[in-house]
């Protein structure tokens, strides 16, 4: 692990409190309970996507698809305009009196540039919205967290939540029957 110390609670600033679960179903239940308990600032960490988990922690975002739509439109417009500009403005060729603006012939390039820009937007946009690359994040301070990329499932209620209280939140998480509850140093 990057920084292998796990704080026991008292010393240092607190990022949040984390509970560790064995399977996705318990984590899903825990996340729903935490949300009905009134917690809003939390995140769950899993080794693979778990259906319904993002909704359970109250996360909703449709920015990726909006950005991709925008990227695709820009790509298509750019590709078409490029072809049009080359054949009509920059390098016009009179081929047996055929129209310069031969738009059906531009479609393959328009399509390719649309896909290209939309795909680049999808990946770059997803990473940017996720705040990646991010060299440091407090959750990595927890020693067991390296199993979040293997076989364990974590729920972290963050200290920024208005209802967060170091003692009450800890007790609440303990009630959910996790393997363990840990403090996350900021």
């Amino acid at each position: 692990m990057l920084a292998g110390t796990s704080f026991s609670g008292q010393s240092g600033a607190l990022y949040g409190i984390m509970a560790e679960f064995d399977d996705p179903e318990s984590l899903l239940d825990a996340a729903q309970l935490a949300r009905s308990e009134g917690y809003r600032e939390m995140d769950a960490y899993t080794p693979m996507p778990v259906e319904g988990l993002a909704e359970a922690i109250g996360f909703r975002s449709s920015w990726v698809q909006r950005l991709v739509l925008l990227g695709g439109l820009c790509g298509a417009a750019g590709g078409f305009l490029l072809c049009w500009w080359i054949t009509v403005i920059a390098y016009p060729h009179n081929v047996a009196g055929r129209p310069l603006n031969s738009w059906p012939a531009y479609i393959p390039i328009t399509f390719e540039t649309m896909v290209l820009i939309a795909c680049i937007t999808a990946v770059v946009g997803m990473l940017a919205l996720n705040g990646l690359p991010q060299p440091y994040h407090p959750v990595f301070n927890v020693e067991q967290f390296e199993r979040a990329s293997r076989d364990r499932f974590f729920l972290c209620i963050e200290a920024s939540d208005p209802r967060f209280d170091p003692v009450a939140t800890r007790t609440f998480l303990k009630r959910l029957k996790p393997r363990e509850v840990m403090d996350v140093a900021a």
Partner: protein, 469 residues
């Protein structure tokens, strides 16, 4: 890999047969260990076949170096090409390689959209195959240019000559299609790898590996919010790649179909090329997956179900290709066109290349019919042999299309012949070397099976079991 991990990973490798996509006894931890274990295995414990395989492939890479150097020194005259056959091996190989790449995108994108869960343990692998096949394909048109150092003239950019590429030409569509395809294939492959890089970072035994995988993972921590966006982006990539893969080989077929040459000027080319591409691609996936699964004892992750499904796809696309051949013959007769008819007669009987046509029919249509039999599909060696035969057959198909058609056009005075030289063969074998070397390095250095998607498979299996109980 640490000692304790090795002990935990001790799930017996059992092939669960044609109904399951994962062997018995696997959990999140064991699939993780098994797949990452291939990468973390000590260097000297690499299966012997990998060393021999890589050595042979690397020898071919050196052959390519020599062939390309000679080509640069003497020009394209070292190849067997001359008017009327200006498109020799270079274009045959270009189309062959790009076709092979298509199965990777089909497996990773189209089968994802169709929710075919058997795609999971072979998608990463075939995406890498796509990437390397496109790299090999891309070399040929550039080497074929004659002055390859001016390849950037293909791109539209403001220049002092005030010249622009012709965007009405399929050859320029090809530039856009192939470069888009290469970029998108890379993005798809890399995006799929990010969560696995995080796994590798967290499991790495030494700090160098940890740093390298850590940088590649970019701080991925498996947050539910990240996964939500990730899955959306991945789905969109799949949705965009699906029409892309169809467009790429359609555009490649336009290179031929838009020309007026008999034997090329056919409207059936785009669908028939796309089917052929997927056909040859699946053959190549099988050619690669069967030995690797054996060397690394992955029979519980790449099961007989995968082999059988791929064989069926091969059989299906092979039949579409067969339909294409029948249609060519039918149209030659039905159109009543003199040149069209002659092109066909020349292909099957009159020209000096008739034997390549019949060999192609044998490889692409007759032999693969054995796959109708379940006994054959269940026999790994037989499937491997058929896949090799299809690889050869699809190469011959492109040879027949490119060379046979060009040798006989409209006027007998411009007829000619084409024979490949040793440099044609060296360049071709050389790219096979590049492809295989990269594949060997990929399998040794990166998780060749998508770990996080295998965990999803485990999860679904557990849910199904829970429901049954």
């Amino acid at each position: 890999m640490r000692q304790e991990d090795l002990e935990q990973a001790s799930v017996a490798t059992l092939d669960p047969g044609p109904d399951e996509i994962i062997g018995p006894g696997h959990g999140y931890e064991t699939v993780t260990d098994k797949i990452s274990g291939v990468v973390f295995r000590p260097f000297l414990k690499t299966p012997r076949q990998m060393f021999t395989g890589f050595a042979c492939a690397f020898l071919l890479v050196n052959l390519l170096m020599i062939a390309v150097t000679w080509l640069f020194v003497r020009g394209v005259g070292v190849w067997g090409i001359a008017i009327p056959v200006a498109w020799g091996f270079a274009i045959v190989n270009f189309v062959w390689w790009i076709g092979i790449g298509h199965a990777g995108t089909l497996i990773s994108a189209i089968l994802l959209l169709l929710k075919q869960d058997w795609r999971t343990s072979i998608n990463r692998f075939s995406e890498a195959m796509t990437l390397f096949a496109v790299a090999c394909a891309g070399m040929f048109p550039i080497l074929h240019l004659g002055r390859p150092w001016l390849a950037y003239w293909l791109l539209p950019y403001p220049n002092t000559m005030w010249m622009w590429p012709q965007p009405r030409s399929p050859l320029i569509w090809d530039v856009f299609a192939v470069s888009t395809y290469a970029t998108v294939s890379f993005l798809f492959w890399f995006t799929g790898l990010i969560p696995d890089f995080a796994t590798m970072r967290d499991k790495a035994g030494n700090s160098t590996a940890q740093k390298i995988f850590g940088m590649l993972a970019m701080g991925w921590r498996g947050s539910a919010k990240h996964w939500a966006r990730y899955q959306k982006a991945y789905l969109l990539l799949a949705g965009l790649s699906t029409p892309l893969v169809v467009s790429v080989h359609s555009v490649v077929s336009f290179d031929f179909a838009v020309a007026i040459l008999p034997g090329w000027h056919t409207t059936i080319f785009p669908p028939y090329f796309v089917a052929g591409a997927i056909y040859s691609g699946f053959a190549m996936v099988l050619t690669l997956a069967i030995p690797v699964r054996r060397w690394y004892h992955l029979e519980d992750l790449i099961t007989m179900r995968h082999i059988e499904c791929m064989s069926k796809v091969m059989l299906g696309t092979g039949l579409i290709v067969a339909y294409g051949y029948v249609m060519e013959a039918f149209i030659a007769w039905y159109s009543g066109g003199q040149y069209e008819r002659y092109a066909f007669i020349n292909r099957v009987w009159e020209g000096g290349y008739w034997w390549t046509y019949w060999l192609l029919i044998l490889c692409n249509i007759l032999i693969p019919q054995l796959l109708w039999s379940r006994r054959v599909r269940m026999n790994v060696s037989a499937v491997f042999a058929i896949a090799l035969v299809v690889n050869v057959g699809m190469w011959l198909e492109r040879f027949v299309i490119v060379v046979t058609s060009l040798t006989r056009d409209f006027v007998p005075s411009s007829w000619g012949t084409y024979y490949p030289t040793i440099w044609d063969w060296s360049t071709y074998l050389g790219t096979i070397g590049v492809f295989l070397s990269l594949m060997f390095l990929f399998i040794r250095g990166l998780p060749a099976i998508s770990i996080f998607e295998m965990r999803e498979v485990v999860h679904h299996k557990e849910l199904a079991h829970a429901r049954r109980d």
